[in-house]
Subunit: 439 residues, 2 copies
């Protein structure tokens, strides 16, 4: 049965209406979840370890005697690493090395303190420091991704975070060896087999056993997302991610099978994932459609892929590659493939995307695992104003100001004038006092 | 009547308990406000201009005929600039010049795109682009601060934001000439005399007259803060600010009157503002206390200053300057003055603060108005994980990846191994397809 991917045409009169439908995705807040999460967080804040232990035993079907018993030792992480296959070990280590190398470049490019003196001798600058301690949430169960452990822990490590604490639920005690091995490779300092809102609460408030952190990153289910929103302010958080998306801009020079498989690789995540292909070449769109229908039968996750492509996917015929770039900017996709033999030409027209994959050989999946850049990216159009997870998410900046005596004489009258204008006499007088000698 | 500022002593047995009380500040969500804001946002989303106009006329006591009539033209901003005193014009321009100069350094230090090729020819990098359009919320009424217009608009302008849209309520039609003049100086592109949740909604969703923006920054009252929280995700927002704070570390070498006035300059903002002085020198603390009592009578805002200092202020006697630095790190203050004749010595021990003011001549107020760094800073301990408003808040990053054919042969097997391990066969096959020739 052919996959019923909708096709849009920018020249059609109903294009804007169809395009609006395609982009629509509503994240309804579930009141029952919201209330349960609020109760769990309040319980963890008040009762600490006791609440974390009860929740974990109940929701994850565990029978732990204490939260301390839920801690994974460094030896246990190493044992997991030793137990996976040599090919898996090697792949994890290669991926980690490349991800680390990219994030070290990122640190050099934008993560260093700087300062200068202006003409009156005043020192100005910005001091960049790593966060003291961060928490990384790693989902357990069927969507357990060791690659996400690397992508969250390595930038924190490169930033110089003092302590990286991982939490990962292990429903019915089942541990994912690749996840534990990835934690070993990525240099996670402490790890607890705790998940859900209770894990987020423990990291935000701290308990006797689980230390409070300064920021929590990492994906999770609706309970985790709700808990992260609620503790924001007490601690920092990364973005709350929506469904994953790929947008492919194709000039027709990439084998159609390759592009079809790239669309599948996004669609296989879940039914809400979105795969969109834009091309000015109608014959090429037909070719990709044929590839989709031919290849779908080979995919173990074909039911999910079909549901995703039919529910949220699209092939869009555009008037030109330029127009395809404009539409891409309106969508601001998480993943953007420029499948062209002149990708640098189109890249210049692209303003909003989490990650841009250039040329036929750059499948999104290479970037997802091991090219080096982070795979935690802004979704749902938030690439208009936000960025991939990076070293900068694990650092913060403090302004530095040292006004010289000469500088105080220049700045004082300006500050006083503006402060009086705002009715803040204390500000004005504090500035004016610096016009006298210190002694 | 002496100001009853509490005094703490780190050597006292009840210090931790007293210190915890001092830090406690609870921001209770007000359900009535939350519900009204939700209703206003829903109305603006549905009815657009009509809702904005009704809310503005009702809440701000206006009688505008249309939202278009609420727009301030560039000529009106210029007229405001021309109407203020020459001293005010000069102060605004000097402050703007210095703020711009600092943020240009910030752009150079950390706001540029970068890329490199690894050994197999794969191009990796990060493309940094400005936001297309941002909204700046400026409070009206009694807490109208022209300096905040500069501090929000100038980093956006330096980042290269395409369009800066300011909203400022004008209750009963009363316009603050300094605020309008600051908008003129800072290069605001469009301005509307609209405020409250309706202004935030208009900027987030867009109306026929007010354009939708990608990010909203700037302070506001409880309605504005609640609205910003609610539209987050649809657009980016800056931090939700708590009460303003200053922490002064003093070794006793700065004139006591100067430090007393610095404490006043924070306390005069509002009753919840917090001013804390730490010193290992008991005699110096007594001297500052005497200055406070002597100077308080001269301050026009003495009622607010007294309420703030008595409710939330403190003088803390420490065992040493080192201990004072440790306590400062626990507080992670918004403003941190190192009032010492060896400030660089202590600066090295300070990890968490929004802005650090070094030496006796660097009053916070000089930084608030014109030293150059931004005065929008993380409050309530959030300096542990967040940063001053800056050029980086008006930019976002996209990862760039261009894998060469040779690179695809190295990366493909790594990605496939990990993808199969995660049960994502589409990802694996997309990587494996790149092991063949393209044609």
């Amino acid at each position: 049965m052919p996959v019923q991917v909708r096709q849009l045409d920018t020249a059609a009169s109903d294009f804007e209406a169809e395009f609006a439908k395609l982009r629509h995705w509503s994240e309804e807040a579930d009141h029952a979840i919201e209330e349960r999460v609020a109760a769990i967080l309040a319980d963890v804040k008040t009762r600490g370890d006791a609440a974390v232990l009860e929740c974990t035993n109940r929701f994850d079907g565990m029978a732990a005697a204490s939260v301390a018993a839920l801690e994974l030792t460094r030896d246990e992480l190493k044992a997991a690493f030793d137990a996976i296959t040599p090919a898996q070990r090697s792949a994890l280590e290669s991926a980690a090395r490349r991800v680390r190398s990219y994030h070290e470049r990122q640190l050099e490019a934008c993560g260093r303190s700087w300062q200068y003196r202006d003409e009156d001798g005043t020192l100005l600058g910005q001091k960049v420091t790593p966060l003291d301690r961060v928490g990384i949430y790693v989902p357990g169960g069927k969507a357990a991704y060791p690659s996400s452990v690397l992508m969250n822990a390595i930038p924190a490590q490169v930033a110089g975070v003092g302590e990286i604490v991982m939490v990962v639920p292990t429903p019915k005690g089942e541990r994912n060896a690749l996840v534990l091995a990835a934690a070993y490779v990525a240099g996670v300092h402490r790890a607890f087999t705790v998940g859900g809102a209770q894990a987020v609460g423990a990291l935000a408030y701290g308990t006797a056993t689980i230390p409070a952190v300064d920021k929590i990153t990492g994906p999770g289910n609706a309970y985790v997302a709700s808990a992260k929103r609620r503790v924001f302010g007490q601690v920092g958080i990364d973005m709350i991610a929506g469904p994953s998306e790929i947008l492919v801009l194709a000039d027709g020079t990439t084998p159609a099978d390759w592009v079809a498989m790239d669309l599948f690789s996004q669609a296989e995540h879940d039914e809400l994932a979105q795969s969109i292909l834009l091309s000015p070449d109608a014959a090429y769109l037909a070719e990709v459609r044929a590839s989709i229908d031919r290849l779908i039968g080979e995919m173990p996750r074909q039911a999910v892929i079909r549901a995703s492509l039919e529910g949220r996917g699209a092939l869009i015929l555009t008037r030109s590659m330029e127009e395809a770039c404009e539409i891409s900017n309106r969508i601001a996709p998480e993943h953007l493939e420029v499948s062209s033999d002149a990708p640098e030409k189109w890249e210049q027209l692209l303003r909003h995307a989490g990650a841009i994959f250039l040329g036929a050989f750059t499948s999104e999946s290479l970037g997802d695992y091991c090219a080096g850049p982070n795979h935690v990216l802004p979704t749902s159009g938030t690439a208009r104003f936000s960025s991939p997870l990076g070293v900068y998410d694990f650092q913060k900046r403090s302004s530095l100001i040292q006004v010289s005596e000469a500088g105080a004489h220049i700045l004082g009258p300006i500050a006083a004038e503006l402060a009086y204008g705002e009715g803040l006499q204390g500000h004005a007088r504090a500035a004016e006092m610096r016009l006298s000698k210190k002694a």
